[in-house]
Amino acid sequence: MEIRPILSALLRSKVSMILIGLQVALTLAIVCNALFIIGQRFERMQRPSGMNETDTFAVSSVGFGEGFDVRAVQAADLALLRRLPGVVAATSINSTPLSGSGWSSGVQLTAEQKTQSANAAFYMVDDHGLDALGAKLIAGRNFLPTEVGIRTLDETVAPASIIISQALAKSLFPGESAVGKQIYIDDPQTTPKATIVGVVERLQTPWVNDGYADIENSLIQPQMLVIGTASQYLIRAEPGRRDEVMKAVETQLAAANPSRIVGKLRDMEAQRRDAYANDRAMAIILGAVIIALLAITALGIVGMASFWVAQRTRQIGTRRALGATRGDILRYFQTENFIITTLGLILGSILAYALSLWMMQAYQSPRLPWHYVPIGFLCLWALGQIAVLGPALRASRVPPAVATRTL
């Protein structure tokens, strides 16, 4: 429509225009970057762990007093767990994905090399481990019952066979099948190589937070870990029966042996919530800031536009007297808003990229993908138009007689 005269009129009341423009600019810059961060967090939170999370839970037990025979207790516990109705599989395990604590170490292909070939999280399970985890075997085979050994901290017994995750397989043997290959997983000077007997599609390490690289490099060894009197089990229930099985496990384990403490049972869904609590909190907080920001900006536009309409009542009347239709008046204010937001948005897109650049330097965050800004443009244009609609409609209803009646 009549962009030039509106623009030149706007330039006569620069300050108000600059204020709204600045507000829009800052809003665009913040909203784009905040949305980007939220997007990243959601992406992180959606990463699959590679295990069945809906039906599984973990429980720990620690014995006390003299004469607590942890190995006997473990055997009895596992037998008990596997007998329980509703249990699909149960294994002894040293740590679970998403738990935040576990065991990681470097692995290497040759004894001579000075640096590690890859870093991997170590899971120690028995022959029911893959079943309990619900990990999907994509090559090779599961552990045999005869392969399951005992691991203590006093004695390093290297397992003969191991299963690794696909990610680890790819990084160790790019382009080749890993099954049948051998790697060192302990001190190459004192322990022999272990043979890879299987590859699982995916198994996350216990550490999902920032700063832990290679989150899918995992290694499973057929060993029952014994540290002091502590043990931990991972149990997978039949679909839909998890909560019921959890209750049964809690009472039965406690009843089975009085000289131990059964730790809090943690289902994997709760584990996931806890693991990503900070990401979720960040996303929620940023989301709230975005909403508040958009609301403030919209209200600011409403306030300013209302003021402009009130201030220009007589002018509007005059325009009406000179032949402007209601639609013309409506469009005038809409166009004016469009111009201001567009100018603000142009400044805002520069600010958005500047902010992103700064975040890249200060926090090593990734670069803002280009499409955020155009999408932000569209959203803020829409926001501006919606915000100005009320005052603009009020303006269009100013009767033309105002031209002769008011001074």
């Binding site: 006390f64 640096t115 004695e155 000289s259 403490i261 960040m282 920001l293 403030i296 600011g300």
Partner: protein, 434 residues
């Protein structure tokens, strides 16, 4: 005169309730967002022990492998080995010093009504208590002789004493943990540690220790620490090999009361490491660090990246709210230019007009501040709900309450400055012109 302007301001604010509400809400929201995040950041980053934080130093030595640095940015490991910790303790070159590690033990209460439970504690030296100054409710710390004598003594935290003995003076009694009886020598009072700064390796906001026992008796249990344990090469088999290994799992603190003592201790560490190099350890270049409490907290990024980003964002948000308020005030004051011209024509000086409108902005700021304070409390409640571990750092203290109100008033006055200045420039004649 002030009262008159205040009255005028209030009246004018009441005349445009929607606009006023918009401005007050804008300021309040901006203030609440920035104060919520600022409170969290302030309490997270604030000095936990201001009277001696510059004297407490965290000891780091670089015993890592020759072929791989501990961290890419050249920082030494965040803990020390048993070998080095005990050697430094034995040398006793600092004014006070303590090595420590985290233990989790099963507690078997005397009271059979209570089921056995796990308690989180710390194995440390007697100096811990005089270095970090936890308040005692009953009894006192053990002494250095008891450290040396592997005494089975224990100091209970307030909560554990509450749980086991109903809060009574339990000093002199015993508590059984994993089949061993420990004599209680002291019970702590409330220790409001916002940040568990003496052990940041397992999370700055992890739950408080429930008991403290001598380091030497802790090692006697032959249990690995429940904290972090990192090795750059396999420790070998058995407990003794583990103790002699290059695995790091112990936190080491030294209190150094003067800069001279600090310098001495530094050179002592250097010579200790050089001595060890002769024995074939410490293959990496000399990289000892002695960070004080605040430096250590910064090094460990206690104030997380997320909190920093949130705070930055909140202030940008406040800026938007302020710009919004400037715009609305400008609109409001411009609309009143007729009244201003009239007042000027009736003899008001420019300064008086300025005061009148400035007070009006101040009133908006004050209302925004009060509302903002309530919203801040709400915001902190949300933070506590979202970050369960932040409950110690997400609450208002008086300094922050005052800061909120001051920030709100100052922001509103700043926002009102330009519109007020514009208002002052209205000519007395403006009223009379068309």
């Amino acid at each position: 005169m002030f009262a008159y302007y205040l009255q005028l301001g209030l009246r004018s604010l009441r005349r445009n309730p929607v606009l006023t509400a918009l401005m007050v809400a804008g300021i309040a929201l901006g203030i609440a967002a920035s104060m919520t995040t600022l409170t969290v950041m302030h309490l997270m980053g604030s000095d936990p022990i201001p009277w001696k934080s510059d004297r407490l130093h965290y000891v780091q030595l670089d015993n890592w492998g020759p072929d791989q640095p501990y961290s890419e940015d050249g920082r030494p490991p965040d803990q020390v080995t048993y070998r080095d910790a005990t050697a430094l303790m034995a040398a006793g070159k600092a004014d006070k010093q303590t090595a420590m590690f985290k233990v989790v033990l099963p507690v078997q209460p005397e009271n059979t009504q209570l089921k056995p439970f796990r308690a989180l504690g710390r194995a440390t030296y007697a100096d811990f208590f005089s270095m970090f100054e936890p308040p005692f409710k009953y009894g006192a710390a053990w002494n250095r002789d008891q450290d040396a004598g592997h005494a089975r003594v224990i100091v209970l935290g307030k909560e554990l004493n509450e749980k086991l003995f109903g809060g009574q003076d339990s000093s002199g009694r015993t508590v059984r943990m994993d089949g061993i009886d420990y004599r209680i020598v002291g019970v702590l009072d409330d220790w409001n540690l916002r940040i568990k700064y003496y052990d940041l390796t397992v999370g700055a906001f992890s739950s408080a220790d429930e008991f403290y026992m001598p380091f030497t008796s802790g090692v006697d249990l032959k249990r690995r620490s429940s904290g972090n344990n990192s090795c750059w090469k396999s420790p070998g088999d058995g407990w003794d090999a583990y103790l002699q290994s290059d695995c790091v799992w112990i936190q080491m603190w030294a209190e150094l009361d003067t800069p001279a003592r600090l310098a001495d201790y530094r050179s002592f560490l250097d010579s200790y490491v050089n001595e060890q190099k002769k024995l074939g350890r410490f293959a990496r270049p000399l990289n000892n660090r002695l960070l004080d409490v605040n430096q250590w907290m910064r090094d460990q990024k206690v104030v997380s990246r997320d909190v920093q980003v949130q705070t930055g964002l909140a202030f940008a948000f406040l800026l938007v709210c302020l710009i919004n308020t400037v715009g609305l005030l400008l609109a409001k004051f411009t609309r009143k230019s007729g009244e201003i011209g009239l007042r000027r024509a009736l003899g008001a000086s420019r300064r008086e007009v300025f005061t009148q409108f400035f007070i009006e902005s101040g009133v908006i700021g004050l209302s925004g501040g009060v509302l903002g304070l309530m919203l801040t409390a709400l915001g902190l409640m949300t933070v506590r709900a979202l970050y369960t571990s932040y409950k110690t750092v997400a609450h208002l203290d008086w300094a922050m309450v005052a800061a909120t109100v001051v920030l709100a008033v100052v922001s509103a006055l700043l926002a009102g400055l330009y519109p007020t200045w514009r208002a002052c420039r209205v000519q007395p004649a403006a009223q009379l012109k068309l």
